[in-house]
């Protein structure tokens, strides 16, 4: 019996202690009529050896590609120590640290996490993780509306990640919040001050600013922030934490800084792994801390005056406040926050800065090489962090498929989201991409765009990489 330790004599003794004849008798309160169906589609059990073989076969089918896709999830080097320690049983198999005295390990890590995130974003406080970047934005919108206590409109520019906008809509729509789109400037991709000004006086609870925005383009965050504040609206920043090693932290945007900062934590130590588990983070000004969703760890002292850590402000949360809670979130992404803490500690401020700078430089190199190909051009002319939108003279789907056949994932096809921009792909090169890989990409782009055949024709499926 996999994972069940009971021997026959244990079972006998236990049934006797309970005073029943069989285990089945313990289910006597379930109405017989409901107990008919057996599991039919579930296979018989596997041994660990069998499932190991099976999973390896599955993994091998997926192989390995040289990846130039970003669009919200980024390939970074993760120090080996991160997951060797994060998967230690004591972190891996513990619950949410409700019993603080028995959970000081997790609690202190989360307190350190909060400190690091608050400092990275330049904010006063941070929580101990939300689900992911997209749902964190939805939570931030709800929080802004709660905090604003008046308006229920939120300005959500069109250059915010399209999926983030959809998720936010799915989550906040039932609470009668109005999400108002803002067009981006045609040739620069950023949200022009003139555009937001069309909403002057429109009683908005918040303005969302993604920096860099979905196109990788840098926004004029100071002006936008100051405008929003002048309107009495909160500023919700959506940021990439790695970029913050180089970019002005939201806490310093404009005269008084953003009010709520959220983002996808994945670039801090979470492997790409088909989209999860990642984690969302949220930081805010002290004034809004009681409106924050999610767990928060505080430092306090024990009965002997010794410093220790505990979950605090639980009165915001569903298990205390129930229908009046700031959110329904309960299980969050704790282990990813632990991994992120390890990741940041291992990189340090200098390491994170070098990583960010190398991403930036590699992306520039990539864009230069690709746009040297006739038929490939940049869509926007403003500075970017580590990705950029390119317009292709051929259908993006075909080009990407051609690259895939060479073991290259050439970027994210953006055409579906912004058809008005033509055939576009969003390309990214992080610090993990080498000069040879970038050259090789450009070479194949050149060939594909000019509709030259491979000579001899061949399609390599990249060898699976372990």
């Amino acid at each position: 019996m996999p994972f069940i330790p009971h021997t026959q004599s244990d079972i006998t003794a236990m049934l006797q202690a309970i005073g029943v004849d069989s285990i089945d008798a313990l289910f006597s309160e379930i109405p017989q009529a409901l107990r008919s169906a057996k599991l039919q589609k579930v296979a018989h059990g596997c041994s660990e050896m069998e499932i190991t073989r099976l999973m390896r076969e599955c993994a091998e089918r997926d192989g390995h590609y040289v990846n130039f896709i970003g669009a919200g999830a980024y390939e970074h080097h993760i120090p080996a120590a991160v997951w060797e320690i994060a998967t230690r049983g004591e972190f891996y198999s513990a619950y949410t640290p409700y019993q603080a005295e028995a959970s000081q390990g997790t609690l202190q890590v989360l307190y350190e996490f909060q400190t690091m995130l608050a400092s990275l974003t330049g904010m006063d406080v941070a929580n101990a993780s939300l689900y992911d970047g997209a749902s964190a934005l939805a939570e931030a919108v709800l929080m802004a509306v709660r905090s604003h206590k008046g308006a229920r409109r939120v300005l959500l520019p069109d250059n915010v990640h399209p999926i983030y906008r959809r998720v936010t809509r799915s989550i906040v729509s039932n609470q009668h919040i109005d999400l108002i789109g803002l067009p981006f400037a045609n040739d620069s991709g950023h949200t022009a001050l003139a555009t937001v000004k069309t909403h002057e006086g429109a009683d908005c609870a918040a303005l969302v600013i993604q920096q860099p925005n979905f196109f990788g383009v840098l926004e004029e965050v100071d002006a936008l922030t100051d405008w929003a504040h002048a309107q009495g609206a909160l500023v919700i920043a959506v940021v990439n934490p790695v970029s913050l090693a180089l970019l002005k932290p939201p806490g310093e945007w404009g005269a008084t800084g953003a009010d709520i900062v959220v983002g996808e934590g994945q670039p801090l130590g979470a492997p790409l792994s088909s989209g999860g588990p990642y984690f969302g983070f949220m930081c805010c000004k002290q004034a809004y801390v009681r409106q924050m969703p999610g767990r928060i760890v505080g430092r306090t002292v024990d009965v002997e005056g010794k410093p220790g850590f505990t979950l605090t402000l639980q009165a915001r949360e569903q298990h205390i406040r129930r229908s009046k809670a700031t959110s329904n979130i309960c299980t969050n992404q704790g282990l990813l926050a632990t991994a992120a803490t390890l990741h940041m500690a291992l990189l340090g401020p200098d390491g994170l800065e070098r990583v960010a700078a190398q991403c930036h430089a590699n992306a520039h190199a990539l864009v230069d090489k690709l746009t040297a190909v006739a038929g490939v051009e940049r869509v926007f002319d403003r500075p970017v962090f580590h990705e950029a939108l390119l317009r292709l003279k051929l259908p993006a789907t075909d080009v990407l498929r051609g690259l895939e056949a060479q073991g290259i994932l050439g970027g994210y096809n953006v055409t579906q989201h912004y058809p008005q921009l033509g055939e576009t792909i969003l390309v990214c090169a992080t610090e993990t991409r080498t000069a040879e890989e970038i050259d090789n990409y450009a070479l194949h782009m050149q060939r594909i765009i000019s509709r030259r055949r491979l000579d001899p024709p061949r399609a390599v499926k990249a060898a699976p990489k372990s």
């Binding site: 994972f3 069940i4 005295e101 400190t115 002005k248 229908s323 309960c330």
Partner: protein, 486 residues
């Protein structure tokens, strides 16, 4: 000692970052960061040592019995971790084409099929990232369904008073008001109260079964009838599915939409607060509203269905396809168990709970529902102990830590005074249960004879009882150089 206190300006792990500092002059100065963030500057050894030592300060399944009710703290098989961390799985970008993820998607598709069978639902979406997000999904689907019927008057979600806090919180997030239904003396929903509560305003009922009181709701069929009769829908909170896996299916009980906490029933790790996964299942009626993406199989190929093919979908709840790595772990676990193994989970988790309940009752502890069979968990109320000795449930919980056991869930559900919700899970041995029972007996004795030992507990943990009031009153949420807690 905090990691920041180990930091020294200029210390760095040069092997963990690019050798050179690349040129960033293309970024306009006014958009650049001026001061470095407060990240620790420590060596790799310092970081490894610091976090290894911190880890040792945790209780965890791997080190202690952890009978936290409603949380299903069962053994997290190491194979699940190992196999979900295969390099190809870890390396795949979520936007990589489906053609490059057929192995992964095959696992996801099969997991959907397994969960459909287990829950008796017509379709499953794996995307919700935890139980509460599953609840949100389900209730949003209920709303979408009513909307699709042009039925705009339904404004209320019913929840039993014993419900988990996420249920009412979810209803609110979906724009519903919440009406609580009382529980009868035996722990079942008060049917009369339910009947008088339902009406045309009823959007639906959220129910956990077995309930958070550790008993199976015997009138589930009538309850379903009552709610359905007024046009409401039934939401199943699957947090306690462990108790009935392979024994009875939520679909057969009459539920329209459900979630499953894979981090409970399917043994993915809790990770000190997540990640989890809360897949949602729906019957034919609610199926069109499931969130995307969903994995479909076309011929021998696996594809992700999106908004295009599911126009009535409530949409998306996260940027990608859910907590993929958690789903892989659950899949491996499900395959190792197989169908017989799943039934055994229900059987032995129930056996363990009923055994502990019987033994604790014999030892003089008071069961909240002495006339009921325990499900996979059960409630002890320590009210009498408190009345006699002044020792409350929290004291006993803390004293258990000294004895090497994690405490059960305390003070939940709220309606039972001095409540201990105890869930041993099927992976614990009789010896471990007996040890815990003996510790409870010892503590009860201590409460009578030397109560300060209990009220002053814990004594052996890295810190002693913490001042929660101070924590909330003088908030210290981030470290600042120079500041200190003590």
């Amino acid at each position: 000692m905090l990691i920041f206190e180990l930091s020294q300006p200029g210390r760095r792990n040069s092997s963990q970052a690019p050798r050179d500092r690349a040129d960033v002059s293309a970024i306009p100065p006014q958009l650049r960061r001026r001061e470095r963030p407060l990240l620790p500057e420590v060596s790799e050894l310092q970081a490894v040592r610091h976090y290894t030592r911190l880890s040792q300060q945790n209780f965890s399944i791997d080190t202690q019995f952890y009978p936290l009710g409603s949380c299903t703290m069962k053994y997290n098989p190491r194979a699940c971790n190992r196999l979900a961390m295969l390099p190809q799985f870890l390396g795949r970008h979520p936007y990589a084409p489906e053609s490059t993820g057929q192995g992964f998607l095959a696992c996801m598709y099969e997991l959907q099929e397994i969960l459909k069978d287990v829950t008796g639902m017509a379709a499953v979406s794996l995307t919700p990232l935890a139980g509460a997000q599953g609840e949100f999904t389900g209730v949003a689907m209920i709303r979408a369904y009513h909307d699709s019927q042009g039925d705009a008057q339904r404004s209320e979600i019913l929840v039993p008073d014993a419900a988990h806090g996420t249920n009412p919180a979810t209803a609110t997030m979906c724009g519903y008001s919440v009406r609580e239904i009382p529980t009868d003396a035996d722990g079942d929903v008060d049917l009369a109260a339910l009947r008088s509560a339902v009406g045309p305003q009823t959007a639906g009922l959220m129910l956990t079964n077995p309930s958070t009181l550790g008993v199976f709701e015997r009138h589930i069929a009538e309850i379903a009838q009552v709610v359905h009769d007024v046009g409401g829908l039934l939401y199943y909170d699957g947090a306690n599915l462990n108790a009935i896996l392979g024994k009875v299916k939520p679909g057969d009980m009459g539920f329209d939409v459900i979630h499953i906490n894979l981090h409970k029933t399917y043994s993915t790790p809790h990770g000190g607060g997540g990640p989890g996964a809360g897949p949602v299942g729906a019957n034919e009626k609610l199926r069109p509203f499931l969130p995307v993406p969903i994995v479909s199989k076309e011929g021998e190929e696996f594809r992700l269905l999106t908004e295009q093919s599911l126009p009535q979908s409530i949409g998306r709840l996260s940027a990608f396809m859910g907590n993929a790595g958690v789903l892989l772990r659950a899949y491996v676990y499900a395959r190792i168990l197989g169908r017989e193994g799943m039934e055994r989970v229900a059987e032995f988790s129930t056996l363990n709970a009923n055994y502990m309940a019987a033994q604790l009752a014999k030892a003089g502890f008071e069961l909240a529902y002495p006339n009921r069979r325990a499900s996979h968990e059960f409630i002890v109320t320590l009210k009498k102990l408190k009345d006699k000795t002044g020792v409350n449930a929290m004291d006993v919980a803390k004293r258990l830590l000294d004895k090497g056991y994690h405490a059960p869930t305390t003070y939940f559900p709220l309606l039972v005074p001095e409540c201990f919700l105890i869930e041993p899970t099927e992976t614990e041995s009789k010896e471990e249960l007996d040890g815990f029972i003996a510790a409870m007996v010892e503590i009860a004795e201590e409460a009578r004879t030397q109560s300060e030992k209990v009220t002053g507990a814990p004594h052996t943990t890295p810190v002693r009882r913490l001042d929660d009031v101070r924590a909330a009153r003088s908030l210290d949420l981030v470290w600042r150089a120079g500041a200190s807690a003590a």
